[in-house]
Symmetry: none
């Protein structure tokens, strides 16, 4: 679970400030100060999001984003543009070529992280470190804890990720295969039935407080996290 953000910005003070804030908020960062460095860093493992300065020496940011959108592998990486001013032109151009959001300098840590979280939530909802609570069942990604009515619950890492996924995607059925892709990760060779086992373990972990009822079997389809019986 890398949660890595690539920061592309030529001014070192601003770049360092960005990375400092992001790291304090629990993200890993990579730094690039120009087009070439950025390109070199955009490869496996791909960053989860790119913060991109509009004005870059040796190739503007818009050029980089265009290139990313042409490659199948990098197309879906969300990009937030950094602009020096709130210029309508830049804004429109940036969104035209595929930027997911933009931030104008100077920015507060709050604006930075909230926009970042908003974009990540849209693209990969499990990547956001907000506390989620459903009917007294509380999951805190930051401290890596799950509590049911303030009573701490114990579970393995996989069950934690599974629950996290469910709580961020409630009221929707997921097939075993979809769960494997989202919780275990893609290209992982695991039996479908394995999901059953972890569902069981998760149910057991949250059963004391009765929250196992939230994890529902949908016969012939998969599983669902729902507050409705």
């Amino acid at each position: 679970m890398t949660r890595k953000i690539l920061v592309v910005e030529d001014e070192a003070p601003i770049r360092e400030m960005l990375c400092f804030v992001l790291e304090q908020k629990g993200f890993a960062t990579q730094e690039a100060e120009d087009y070439d460095q950025a390109l070199a860093l955009i490869k496996e493992p791909y960053p989860e999001l790119i913060l991109l300065d509009w004005m870059l020496p040796g190739g503007s940011g818009i050029q980089l984003i265009k290139q990313l959108k042409q490659d199948e592998l990098t197309r879906q990486i969300p990009v937030i543009m950094l602009t020096a001013r709130a210029e309508e032109d830049d804004k429109i151009k940036g969104l035209d070529v595929g930027a997911d959001d933009y931030i104008t300098k100077p920015f507060s840590p709050k604006e930075l992280t909230s926009r970042l979280k908003a974009v990540l939530r849209r693209v990969a909802p499990t990547a956001v470190e907000d506390v989620i609570e459903v009917q007294g069942l509380k999951l805190d990604p930051a401290s890596h804890r799950v509590t049911a009515n303030h009573l701490q619950l114990e579970m393995g890492p996989t069950e934690f990720k599974l629950l996290h996924f469910f709580m961020t995607h409630p009221e929707r059925v997921y097939s075993r295969e979809q769960l494997l892709n989202n919780v275990w990760g893609t290209n992982v060779y695991v039996e479908d039935r394995t999901v059953d086992v972890h569902i069981r373990r998760l149910r057991k972990a949250v059963s004391e407080s009765g929250h196992d009822k939230l994890i529902q079997t949908v016969r012939g389809a998969g599983y669902r996290f729902s507050t409705r019986l």
Copy 2:
């Protein structure tokens, strides 16, 4: 010993950024966005240092600093000026009226804290950070001592830094890599597993009083300092 910094800056994003960085570095902050608010906050307990924007609406920063230097009680509070650019004029004027240092925007967190520390060191060498106490476990950065229920504990420098980091960042999981970055410093080539060893040494050092329970393993994620089991 309050270690309180007053930030006087009219642009909210920049002000918030300053406060965020300072708070992460262990300072307490107060915010003012203009001359009047700043004046209202400069009283008992006096801030230990003032970060002052050069251009303030309703009275320039230079005016505020002049006023401070006239009052016996506030004269010795060090002031760092914030200037939009490195203009020689501003620099000279600022230092003339008694500013202790200046920082030009944009600035990196490193520059900010190192200049701030330098000024504090010059003005108040004895200035220390606040004592942190959690459940009878007391860490005093000033005397570089750790006590558990008034009983002194012995540990190495790395363990001390590790504990300090944990106590200032409780209730959050940190991966081995994050701990290395925050405690050992960035770009240090050390094995991940080394963290385990120092965790062990730290636990051992605080174990007699049972405080080792505060340092918790989160399997598959890292370590956490928490008062909850």
